[in-house]
Symmetry: C2
Amino acid sequence: MGDQARIDELNLTAIRMLSLDQVQKANSGHPGLPLGAAAIAYAIWDRFLKFNPRNPLWDNRDRFVLSAGHGCALQYSLLHLYGYDLPMEELRRFRQWGSRTPGHPEYGETPGVEATTGPLGQGLSNAVGMALAEAHLAEQFNRPGFSIVDHYTYGICSDGDLMEGITSEASSLAGHLGLGKLIFVYDDNRITIEGNTQMAFTENVAQRYAAYGWHVEEVADGNRVEELARAIESARSETRRPSLIIAKTHIGLNSPLQDTEKVHGEPMSAGHYAETRRRYGVSDRAPFSVPQESLDYFRHAAARGPRIEASWREMFAAYEKAHPELAARFRRMMRGDLPADCDSAWPVFSADRGGVATRDASGKTMNAVAVPLQGHLIGGSADLGPSVRTVLKNHGDIGHRSFGGANLHYGVREHAMGAISNGMALHGGIIPFTSTFLQFYDYMRPSVRLAALSRLRVIFIYSHDSIGLGEDGPTHQPIEHLAAMRAVPNLVVIRPADANETVWAWRVALSRRTGPTAICLTRQKLPVLDRTVLAPAAGLLKGAYVLTDLGGSSGAAPDVILMATGSEVSVTLQAAEVLAAEGRRARVVSMPSWELFESQPESYRSEVLPPDITARVAVEAGVSQGWHRYVGLRGGLVTIDRYGASAPAETLFEKYGFTPAHIAEEVNRVMLKGAK
Amino acid sequence: MGDQARIDELNLTAIRMLSLDQVQKANSGHPGLPLGAAAIAYAIWDRFLKFNPRNPLWDNRDRFVLSAGHGCALQYSLLHLYGYDLPMEELRRFRQWGSRTPGHPEYGETPGVEATTGPLGQGLSNAVGMALAEAHLAEQFNRPGFSIVDHYTYGICSDGDLMEGITSEASSLAGHLGLGKLIFVYDDNRITIEGNTQMAFTENVAQRYAAYGWHVEEVADGNRVEELARAIESARSETRRPSLIIAKTHIGLNSPLQDTEKVHGEPMSAGHYAETRRRYGVSDRAPFSVPQESLDYFRHAAARGPRIEASWREMFAAYEKAHPELAARFRRMMRGDLPADCDSAWPVFSADRGGVATRDASGKTMNAVAVPLQGHLIGGSADLGPSVRTVLKNHGDIGHRSFGGANLHYGVREHAMGAISNGMALHGGIIPFTSTFLQFYDYMRPSVRLAALSRLRVIFIYSHDSIGLGEDGPTHQPIEHLAAMRAVPNLVVIRPADANETVWAWRVALSRRTGPTAICLTRQKLPVLDRTVLAPAAGLLKGAYVLTDLGGSSGAAPDVILMATGSEVSVTLQAAEVLAAEGRRARVVSMPSWELFESQPESYRSEVLPPDITARVAVEAGVSQGWHRYVGLRGGLVTIDRYGASAPAETLFEKYGFTPAHIAEEVNRVMLKGAK
């Protein structure tokens, strides 16, 4: 055994034991993957990965994503050993309250963790987004002699990742695009939670990935660092296709439970733990201890990072001289700042009874702001761009081996679209947007959740946001989707009432840096409200605002509060006119975003919805769920608590009660009840 | 041109024009697919499909699923021409209010429509479930000489279907299982909504499906009936693998917009419509008219159906004599009735402070009832069976070419699991169940929605239903999932409070025939409530019920109503004890199912939640959204409106305020506020 092989084995044992110790101490976690896939992670990190533990966010670092996030003890061991700010104390507090070592990797919680993973398939799909972001920024910023953006995206995935549909979507698209700097190793241990993969997963993975257009390598013994390193080297030299390296491994390697599902997801018994340590020859070593020789090795390896970064900085300084504007733009985009001239780009729509669909207003807004944002705002649609109006004109397409454009054709792949966008946001330098019909938000819900949990700046555009889409029928008509979205913590949901609120929705979405924003838009035309008589659309910033108080004596308190969102605001205004004619004083509140409203001080909220006015009616073409928060036990609802139907939009709005007359009737019912 | 070829062309023109007329008349819909894929559908229906228009629900019919549901005008044309109860008047009312010809195929709305499709990927995955149901029932019921269950499942899919991840999941599993009687034709027209498939979809589909273990055929001209028929014949003779026939077609065939995305999803201009009719040689024919020769042909073909069914009935009569018990069971299962001895199978759990996790109670209940239900209750898990406790012991596994068992290993494929289960329910003869962690409900949400929309009897089991799962952390802890589920119309959601409520949840789920039921279960142990002092668990049937009124003077009205679900019921009972000691009279309502409660008469609801008692607090380890419906504007909430964390369950419940002391505090706050 050569010197390198000997020290590799020593290091692998250190990594494995440190991971095992975390799980045993926590009495919770997944020991199987760290034991079985340690060599894969080590081969990537030791032989190839470009990183600086002193500056984990260095722009040009290689990205590493553990898509099989349940094996995070492995990642924490590596981060600790390579000198990231993750002291041994944190490894001892694995999975405990307040630690930096949560049960699955969480972006923002642990230095060096590039993505929140665990829900299978998300990590690999994030990595596709990272590799795409790299390719896009490289095409935009690199100049002869200046490879400012030039890094790989590595990852490890499991059979579970490969079974998930999202992975198929992302992999097919990655193959189509030809993302040559994306390299994944498949930890092929043939064991899932229910037992052997023979029970459910017998497809030919190599053939499948070849069909996607990937370069595929196979490693017969995935516990041999040199074999792995050769395969990774070959993947690196394949520049036109993403690479999948299928490495045969043994889950729970060398433990008494090796190659069984029992070692996947729970700590070992004390006996098995002791026996595993004995087999690794560390019985006499205290848990959470690492031999000095390994410590020295990792420290030495980690010292490469600052040198690599320093030489990149040197190059960047020269680049800055040669291309000052590009360099400034690169810095700004990586910081996530918007250019100053954004502010003057926003369109204003004139009052127009004939109306503008909010999807059209959104399209115009995006296209206006995309000019100053050029190269920063990147996105696309799951094959509905022309319908959702999210095509950025004159900004070019992203396609096979051509990454500089702004429009990405995701194909009918909503779930991957979400996760790839998350990956671009995680990479930095890009503000990604997605688009599809609101109905198909359901297809990408897990990715939207992860954007919210990870506090990512991603803009999710959804059009065709109600029965107002008409004839396509109940399979396409969102009913429960607004409620389901609003339930997601840290997702700001905005349903603008007209073209000008749509502009403000985009302003919120673009400037929000601590989480994603979803904008829900109509297919049908809506009147552009006359802001000379109604409150300004900038009220959207506060989530809800008084559009007008109509009827009765001016200055008097309203008899009733009508609140509505999106396409229902105009009809609610008409209902208020009906009520005014009947002598009622009705307040109309446009309520485009519950989340923004809830973040206002109590004083503002009470101003909009005075607590003593309990005659309240909410109007929204969706389920009533959640509206009682604003209308209370006695309030009225004009909502839809059943499925839609296939018919022209006007027919549907009438049949479902979204008419001025019916809304006014509901108000009268509520006021009568209240009077009793 | 031979006679058959001539009449085929005549018939194809009739089908195409009838479909085109529907779209033009509605001024809405998708003309492209019916023009381009008519020959595919016709080849299946004319040459192979076994069906009886007089009895569209005949048990042993072949199933046909149009996964590309946007092409439904094509299906309606066929159903009309073959004599289903779908008169021409309905075709004229395509996509109109109250018609039987909605904008996408809807199960239950149109005779002969086997599945609600449109959301891409669902139909193909449903078809996998149908083919599996056929294989399972065949293995269970067929006897030498009696192929009681013996039919094919055919379908048509589009590039959009093939891009969706759900399709990958379902196809990989179908290949693994070896569902030889599943035959799909891929309408390969190379056009998507955004343009040419070259923009986003360049994978090698044939190679990918070969990798899944499918038999793949290619048809160079998918508008030639004989070529298609030969490929289908070859697929039929391949009995051990599912088949994908890749048929090259031309979207909008022969229209001026042929081979463009413009003909996909909207009606043609009047000029293009006229020109298309001219090219098909029908300019002189009125819209919605069919040549007599074609009418005769279809009528003649349709007459095969009753004969085929009659001969099957003859065989079944003989089978009934030879195997009376089997025949009775088959009939009962196809009717969906439960056996009488189910009633005595339900377990009862004794009061136990130490407790039983509701996932364990569910596992015991399932296993108890699976005995009388043998062969009727079929399901599995997305690789979490041992954790969700849904393994049916002694009922065998379903595996490669072995379909008689009850336990299906779905692999980590939640979305396909949902849709395959829907397909089994659509087929009939099976009550399917699925299982995974509640967090991963998000991965299968579109399928659950379709189960609800289609009124399918599917049982969705979800365990690990809150932060109570502990260390796995926020990626695995459901927070918004209960709310998101409750938002779905016609989905009954049940979160039982203890082992005995779990039994009742299963009773509800099994007996509900008009829609799906989701049961949400704990990982952690919960006390089995003492029903000698608390109300019986059968109260679950009404969705919410008074467990007890504690403290104050017996018989007096409560001062406050505490309502809770699932694991929070026990701690809420303890809070009521704290309050009672303070002299408060507190009512504790167990509220396992909002939907069941809302279906009760007003009188019952007012009895449980008397309107004049407005001091109310809801306790649930999930988002507050929706609870204001029960607690009103003044009520209190002990809920979680942010993400969970990685730590032991006990720590989390304490940190998030689910302690008797904190709940009591919230009650006192609410009552103090109310007193002001």
